[in-house]
Amino acid sequence: EEGGEKDFPVLNTLRRKHMSVDVVDRASGSAYVESGRTKVVCTVHGPKTDTWSSLFSEHGRISCFVTISAFSGSDGERREERREEEERAAELGILPALQSAINLLKYPKSVIEVHVSVVEADGDLLSPCIVCASLALAHAGVEMYDLVASSSLALRRKEGFMLEPGAGLTEHDGSLSLSYMPNRREVTQLVQVGQWEQEEVARAMKVGLRACRSTHALMRLALLQHQEKEEE
């Protein structure tokens, strides 16, 4: 294990994160996550009656909506053109990561709406969105098997792994992002791109899982702090 770590060192530490819940009054649950310069707000509405689907369904449904603000680009320019594509792609990425964490059998004929707003984006969007959505769902009291923590990393073969790279990282040999439930020890989502050996994938996963575990601890802390405030 020691030898392995030396081959691919981790070049940086996780970004400073700030997490809080109960940021929006009108929603069933809400959360705000800051990860370095990325800022994401998420609100959860529901569970409520599902009017979209006419068939009876014995398990609930989650629907996810993502809005990326026009001023969210890290280069300061107003983004107009590719936002819709990115928003749809983000929705497709966030939904499956959360689905296996929620006990949907408890909410028949219902839908839980998750609205994610990206205020500022610096690098990978999916991970902070998934973390924020997880917190908001927990705050809303939706029954979950565990909080879903998520992180991403990139590989530079000559140097090592970069955790949560920012938008400024141009050259790299591939990236991996994963969403993990530490208490259940289950990976809910894994996306990897790049021509890697199996060993590199295994090592990247180890690094990613460690990052997820520390993010998970921060998430629990945020919820506990909110709980304490409520009780006062």
Partner: protein, 267 residues
């Protein structure tokens, strides 16, 4: 369920050159899943950024019952995104085959149409893309320098088959989807097996046994150890399948050179 071992592949049938009007095409039958892929090419000027050479895949699901209207669209979108992920990062050996000169490169557009569905759609789509690219023969271009110093290209007058170079696909991967049914993992699942699946994870493996892309999305969670072991199984399966496909392709090429034009049928 159909008598195969857990990691045994179904019979794959391959045909290339099924759409003669395109630069390259192929049709793949794997068990009950059938797909046709065709390649169109465009010459592009390299911009200031990057090489301009690229491959873009687009998947359409046809022949689905009308009640599943929106489902077909969603499925097409998801398969397109997954298939494109292979080419999201430049594959150096392939890019080199696509470069014509410093300023010009080919852009390839691969259109895949799924006609029948019996599990492992992503695998079959990626095999169809690979096969169509193998069949792609791009016309040779020669470059010349204009009076003002700019570089132009013109079509070479030698259009004979043997002068066209095939693309270098040694690093282009195909997907292997491992499906979890109950407590076990199987490769190359049929539609019925997928319907009972807990989850599915897909690995894109190339001929050099490199893992080019992993995608695990819907379904139950997987433990990290399971991910590592399925990765090993997928790499083994993928490399065997690649060898089998290479051999099939070689057989087809040898048969073609025997002037057997009448043997080409579309499906």
């Amino acid at each position: 369920m159909d008598g195969r071992q857990r990691l045994e592949s179904r019979n794959i049938q391959l045909k290339v050159g099924t759409v003669p009007s395109c630069y390259g095409s192929a049709s793949v039958h794997c068990g009950g899943t059938k797909a046709i892929a065709s390649v169109q090419a465009e010459l592009s000027d390299t911009g200031a950024e990057g090489s301009g050479a690229s491959v873009e895949v687009s998947v359409t699901c046809s022949n689905m019952p009308s009640s599943a209207g929106r489902q077909a669209e969603d499925m097409s979108a998801a398969l397109t995104a997954d298939a494109n992920r292979i080419f999201a990062r430049p594959i150096p050996t392939l890019i080199k085959s696509l470069m014509v000169s410093d300023r010009h490169a080919w852009k390839l557009f691969v259109d895949v149409m799924l006609v029948e569905y019996d599990g492992c759609l992503l695998d079959v789509v990626s095999i169809a893309v690979w096969a169509a690219l193998s069949d792609t023969k791009l016309p040779t271009l020669s470059t010349f320098t204009n009076a003002d110093g700019s570089v132009g290209v013109e079509l070479s007058l030698e259009m004979e088959e043997k002068n066209k170079k095939p693309l270098d696909l040694s690093s282009v991967p195909t997907y292997v989807s491992i499906t979890q049914v109950g407590k076990h993992f199987i490769a190359d699942a049929t539609a019925i097996e997928e319907a009972c699946a807990g989850c599915r994870i897909s690995y894109a493996i190339n001929a050099r046994n490199e893992v080019c892309c992993i995608h695990k999305s819907e379904g139950r969670g997987l433990k990290p150890t399971q991910i590592v072991s399925t990765m090993g199984a997928a790499t083994q399966f993928g490399s065997n399948r690649m060898k089998f496909l290479d051999k099939k392709l070689q057989d087809l090429i040898d048969k073609d050179s025997g002037d057997d034009l009448l043997d080409r049928d579309v499906l």
